[in-house]
């Protein structure tokens, strides 16, 4: 089991759940499976060409996937994924 942490701005899509679960596979698989369970989430994470948006980071445990293998980064049981968008409130 892999935990995915949903940030506050995306929680309206996950019925306010701050954490959801996914199964092993790549980040691409994870985004697809999140999107079938919570339609609309993919559009918030990825742009029209399917690339991760430049103001949204995904971390596997403590590592930013942009510095791993991007969306092809593989998840294994016990990993924790955090979705972290830029926020600007002050």
């Amino acid at each position: 089991m892999i935990k995915v942490r949903i940030p506050t701005p995306l929680r309206p899509l996950t019925k306010n759940q701050g954490e959801v679960e996914t199964t092993a596979g790549s980040i691409t698989n994870m985004i697809e499976s999140l999107n079938s369970a919570h339609p609309g989430i993919k559009d918030r994470l990825c742009d029209e060409s399917g690339e991760l948006r430049r103001f949204v980071n995904i971390y596997v445990n403590e590592e930013d996937i942009r510095f791993l293998k991007g969306k092809e980064t593989m998840l294994k049981d016990g990993d924790e994924v955090s979705i972290v968008p830029a926020i600007a409130g002050g």
Binding site: T8, R54, F55, A86, I87, A88, G89, G90
Partner: protein
């Protein structure tokens, strides 16, 4: 300059700490810190920095105090509604510590005025409320080689990091290369923010600033701290330098502040 009798009394709980001492307290009194925004984050940060005896505090903000600010912006009070935030803030900070100098700049920062402004300070705290200012402040601090302590918040969640690419660490664009396009991310006015979250995040900013001045403790310049008030969880994730960074990478595309910050970054 030696500490006076009254200063020794005022700062005795600092001076007794080995990590601060009389020497550290003098460093604090010589430090110059600029707060971008005298709002939710700037309020608690400013209060503690003033109390800690930071010798010069600059407040820059173009707004006036509004009744809806008072739920979190504790520099201000019902009596100062309608007053420029920087004037209201200066009053509060000077009342806590009349020994320090507080400079009030009632203006918005922009590409033309930011460099001369930050050049007068050692450390900058970003407590602004929009992406265009955050990218501008990051870029300006990069060019001026100033350490930037950045915090931001949204509803129940806060983020914090220290930005000092001049010391080999990543910049804000290494973390988020581009701001969201207009309209995609709601601001606090539209989405709300838990008032006390501003206190938590602003005080963490002040704490990191004081550590920078004193040169003590662990830096978070290679981390992003994420705080979730509802889960009561702090997470730290790694924040590497991006070799493709358009600002601080080896082949930079951004060479000055001549970008259209307002258009490309407005939320």
């Amino acid at each position: 300059m030696e500490l006076t009798e009254l200063q020794i009394q005022r700062y005795s709980r600092h001076i007794i700490l080995n990590e601060v001492g009389g020497k550290g307290q003098k460093k604090l009194s010589q430090a110059k810190i600029l707060l971008i925004g005298a709002g939710g984050l700037g309020s608690p940060a400013g209060l503690y920095l003033a109390a800690a005896g930071i010798g010069t505090i600059g407040l820059v903000d173009g707004d006036v105090v509004d009744l809806s600010n008072l739920q979190r912006q504790i520099l201000h009070s019902t009596a100062t509604v309608g007053m420029p935030k920087v004037e209201s803030g200066k009053k509060t900070l000077t009342a806590i510590n009349p020994e320090i100098t507080v400079n009030a700049y009632h203006q918005l920062v922009d590409a033309d005025n930011i460099l001369p402004l930050i050049s007068q300070y050692d450390i900058v705290l970003d407590g602004s409320d929009n992406f265009s200012t955050r990218f501008l402040v990051n870029d300006a601090c990069f060019f001026a080689k100033k350490t930037l302590i950045s915090a931001s918040m949204f509803r129940f969640e806060g983020q914090l990091t220290t930005i000092k690419p001049h010391a080999g660490y990543p910049c804000y664009r290494c973390l988020y290369p581009e701001p969201p396009p207009a309209g995609l991310v709601p601001n606090c006015q539209e989405a709300g923010v838990l008032g006390v979250l501003a206190g938590t995040m602003g005080i963490l900013q002040a704490s990191e600033a004081i550590k920078e001045v004193l040169g003590i403790g662990e830096t978070i310049a290679d981390k992003l701290v994420i705080y979730d008030a509802l889960d009561m969880k702090f997470r730290k994730v790694s924040r590497p330098k991006d070799p493709a960074c358009p600002l601080c990478g080896p082949n930079p595309k951004i060479k000055d502040l001549n970008l259209d910050y307002a258009v490309s970054c407005t939320i």
